[in-house]
């Protein structure tokens, strides 16, 4: 299994994982695989489907830990595409403003064209679902949107949890989903009749 760990090391190097972190991961993985082998347990039991694809395994692990620093090919293409689309939107917005001025109307404060997004360079189309449990509904909604997800809320009552806070969520924190996926939050509503409401 030493070649498996070597392949992982190489992949982490390619992904720009900091040396110290890559070394730690390699050490832990080696030790786990050795122990499993000594107990007669197949590598698949430790690595799952990743046993046959060290590069994919290493990449998934590094991505999940958030330690990838090298920018993959696809994000450069995406960044170019966003820049191109933004330029078109800008042009369309400018054209609209000019057209309205020409008709003799004051340019509206907000253009009908959508706001030009800041050119971001996302490194991935997937999002790790954050943990919203215990947060206030307002904070949770803002954070969820900031994370690139949609959000729906359901009020649950009666409940002993503090009113207006998130009781539970689906998917669970840590789940990897696509950008734009929906995070469902269950918010504490009315407390039971015999408890005080918080101001």
């Amino acid at each position: 299994m030493s070649t498996f760990v070597e392949e992982c090391r190489r992949e982490w190097k390619r992904l720009g994982v900091p040396d110290l972190i890559a070394e730690e991961m390699a050490t832990d993985l080696s030790a786990d695989l050795e122990e499993a082998e000594a107990e007669g347990v197949a590598a698949e039991h430790v690595l799952g489907g990743g046993a046959s694809d060290p590069r994919r395994f290493a990449a998934d692990w590094a991505q999940a830990r958030g330690v990838v620093t090298a920018q993959p090919e696809t994000s450069r293409r995406r960044a170019w595409l966003i820049a191109a689309v933004s330029a078109v939107v800008l042009a369309a917005g400018a054209a609209t403003a000019i057209a309205l001025l020409a008709v003799g109307q004051t340019a509206p404060k907000t253009l009908t064209a959508p706001a030009v997004p800041t050119v971001q360079e996302p490194t991935t189309v997937s999002v790790t679902v954050p943990n919203m449990i215990g947060q206030t509904e307002t904070d949770a909604i803002a954070e969820t949107r900031a994370a690139g997800l949609r959000v729906t809320t359901v009020l649950v009552s009666p409940t002993s949890q503090r009113s207006g806070t998130v009781i539970s969520q689906l998917p669970a924190p840590g789940t990897v989903v696509s950008r734009g996926a929906t995070l469902r939050l269950r918010i504490a509503g009315q407390p039971p009749a015999n408890t005080k409401t918080h101001p």
């Binding site: 050490t27 832990d28 943990n131 669970a172 789940t175």
Partner: protein
């Protein structure tokens, strides 16, 4: 859907809870967690492995880690549930029981096929 991949899909929603559950009281390193899961009754974790999941749990603050020197070997990384992780676990266990009950109710009349 292939049996193995359905199992993987089903576990996707609860594997994090299972991991948190086996490190709720006593910290463990990676392979040790696999063994605890097996001992508690989870025979395999499906097609995935626990490492990326542990990475996400750590990133989201649901587990805390520390390194412990092992006899004669390099220091190993130990994981344990954080306070947030514990809360997530108990909420998650509640949600699981709800879903399990509902699905069981829907599937109750279904006769499982007996494999030849």
């Amino acid at each position: 859907m292939a049996a193995e991949s359905r199992r993987t899909q089903m576990l996707k929603g609860v594997l994090d809870l299972c991991l948190l559950a086996v490190i709720e009281d006593e910290p463990a390193y990676g392979y040790e967690m696999t063994k605890r899961l097996r001992d508690r009754g989870l025979s395999t974790v499906g097609e995935g492995s626990i490492y990326p999941l542990l990475g996400r749990l750590e990133r989201d603050g649901l587990v805390e880690t520390h390194r412990v020197a092992s006899d004669g070997g390099p220091p190993r990384k130990y994981y344990r549930a954080s306070p947030v992780g514990r809360r997530t676990l108990s909420e998650g266990a509640l949600a699981w029981r709800e879903v399990r009950g509902e699905v069981d109710a829907v599937l109750a009349p279904v006769e499982p096929e007996v494999k030849a």
